[in-house]
Subunit: 199 residues, 4 copies
Amino acid sequence: MKNVVREPQQERSIEKKNRIIDAGYQLFSEVGYYGTNTAEIAKRAGVSTGIVYGYFRDKRDILICVLEIYIERVFDPFLKMFDNLTVPVDFDTIISKIIDMAIKTHKNNRKIHEALHSMAGSDEAVGAQFIALEDAITLKIAKKFSNLGVNIDHALEKIHFAMDIIQSFSHEYVFDKHDYIDYTVMKDMVITIVKDLFI
Amino acid sequence: MKNVVREPQQERSIEKKNRIIDAGYQLFSEVGYYGTNTAEIAKRAGVSTGIVYGYFRDKRDILICVLEIYIERVFDPFLKMFDNLTVPVDFDTIISKIIDMAIKTHKNNRKIHEALHSMAGSDEAVGAQFIALEDAITLKIAKKFSNLGVNIDHALEKIHFAMDIIQSFSHEYVFDKHDYIDYTVMKDMVITIVKDLFI
Amino acid sequence: MKNVVREPQQERSIEKKNRIIDAGYQLFSEVGYYGTNTAEIAKRAGVSTGIVYGYFRDKRDILICVLEIYIERVFDPFLKMFDNLTVPVDFDTIISKIIDMAIKTHKNNRKIHEALHSMAGSDEAVGAQFIALEDAITLKIAKKFSNLGVNIDHALEKIHFAMDIIQSFSHEYVFDKHDYIDYTVMKDMVITIVKDLFI
Amino acid sequence: MKNVVREPQQERSIEKKNRIIDAGYQLFSEVGYYGTNTAEIAKRAGVSTGIVYGYFRDKRDILICVLEIYIERVFDPFLKMFDNLTVPVDFDTIISKIIDMAIKTHKNNRKIHEALHSMAGSDEAVGAQFIALEDAITLKIAKKFSNLGVNIDHALEKIHFAMDIIQSFSHEYVFDKHDYIDYTVMKDMVITIVKDLFI
DNA sequence: CATGAATGAGGATTCATTCAT
DNA sequence: AATGAATGAATCCTCATTCAT
């Protein structure tokens, strides 16, 4: 029974595992998955190369954990925005808030976002995680509306697509920086479009 | 003077260079940039590994050329759609056509699209190319409208964002396949939204 | 004073040391010396990896102990067969019995036998042990005959060689399984040959 | 199609492949399979580590090739001894010759013999090769006798077992060196025994 | 005595790139 | 211009052994 990955119970161990994930997070952000080697991760985490394999099956396993952290960090606050929603839904406010948050998280995580997304194509599990995430968000929001008694035609399609648009815009906003674009104008466009979808 | 990359003049040479690019195109599509090695590219192209470095500075150089071909293949026909545009602009028709074409090119090039996009984050030149491309399209379309005497408020922002939405949807359409989504419905949403932007 | 190997006095300790040896015995049998790692030995023995080095200098030291156990288990009963020998020696019976026992022990210990023998070539101590063992057996049997007043020309050579033949046959019998060989016939050949040596 | 092993056509290449095999042969002899690393093999062969994997799938592949060479070197001359056999068979002479040759080849190849045999237990292919070899020898000799019109009861068992005995003796002769054994006496015993088998 | 986390040297293998022909 | 053999640094991962607790 080789390749057994320790499931750390000790506080110190958990902290060490987290340090490794953090190091991976940073390095994948900085130089991408393929630009990072395990020795570097270990060094950055302040541990030996060997122990990395005490906590993770392999390098890819670190990637998966980084992905989990990323999702937690980026999407959990996003989902929480819908917890306090009340009727009548003030779409104007919520949409604006969501876009602001999307921009903010994109800004704070732009490099790791790129790095992870670029793996989605080649690594099945990573791709699946992203899809699962979109599903979770779409379904959760739909359920929320349903619970509030708000009926929306083609709710799933609208929610999903609104998300796509917002993502796309946030990405645009944070990365591309086409200098001929007035992003304030564009942001208003997004708000209008998304609002129109739901009202 | 080492590392001089031959600019092939002979027909045979040009054809050989293209074969290499094609091989790269295929392999990057199939297994991604990091999953491909130069020996494999050479073999697929029917040339020796050595000569690859006669035509290309390094492996990345092949990537850049593949990217060029990709852009040519995918975006040139896209741009041509606007050549025959006449006033009054039939937005309904043109938007529908564009979406159909976007879906079609996404379908035909889904793997290479993934592969190249995943490089945009880690390779500056690749990222720059994508941005330049978006610029070219946005500006060309804007100019076309201008030439036709069609005045649109915030034309650049609208065109750019319309493109983003269509890209996003095409991607969604071709890749994700969330089973709870009715993509026909979504497509109509996209058409409506984009039309509303311009009318 | 580092690296001092504890000589366990406590009963519990002795039992623990034996458990480690047993674990080594099993694992060396199953996957060979190089296919076994110390962590696995510790786990199988139900002890920590660290304490293994409390009882053994290093991994090889476990091997040596396993070898001792092996010799004890396999050859002691063999030697005991000669204890009750009486004159006139009934070679027919004793040879037959010895062959049967050799086959039986080979069968019961085939894997560890392989594992240990394969180390004899590369590890001097292991090789020496095997030689010492053969010496012990040969000399003990010779002495027995001498004590019984049985005189045999070139007794040492005959005994030693008889042993070789029987070993070789047992090995053949248990391992090779050439399907064109009738091992019953072969066994009779062995008995005849060995008998002829001594009568 | 990765991991393609060059099948060298060029003279220079064949010579290089042989140099690697020879280096493996030597090193496996000197320090065993597990005591040898590929870098060392490459160095000894005067090539780079990389090219080793141009000629061999992996380290084990080198072992297999070494085994082939070993078999060729050791057993081919052995088989050739039977080519010129005529009736009536002079068992006395041929057996004596075979034993002499067996001793000689054992002497010349004692270390590699040990190294390869020690792998037979853990590597299925190596084990199978040894068995196939014994089969080939046994069957070839049997056929020879048959072709010569020499009829032997239980020929296969006798030939096989004679081989076993000779092997065993040669091994004894070359390796063990129990100092109380007179190997000249023992050799005569072997000759007598084997002769008695066939006459 | 005991634990099991930690170490880090070592090893097999890959692959972008160069070079002799 | 072309070949493909050759290079060797780099990488992932293992595991015997040590050490803090």
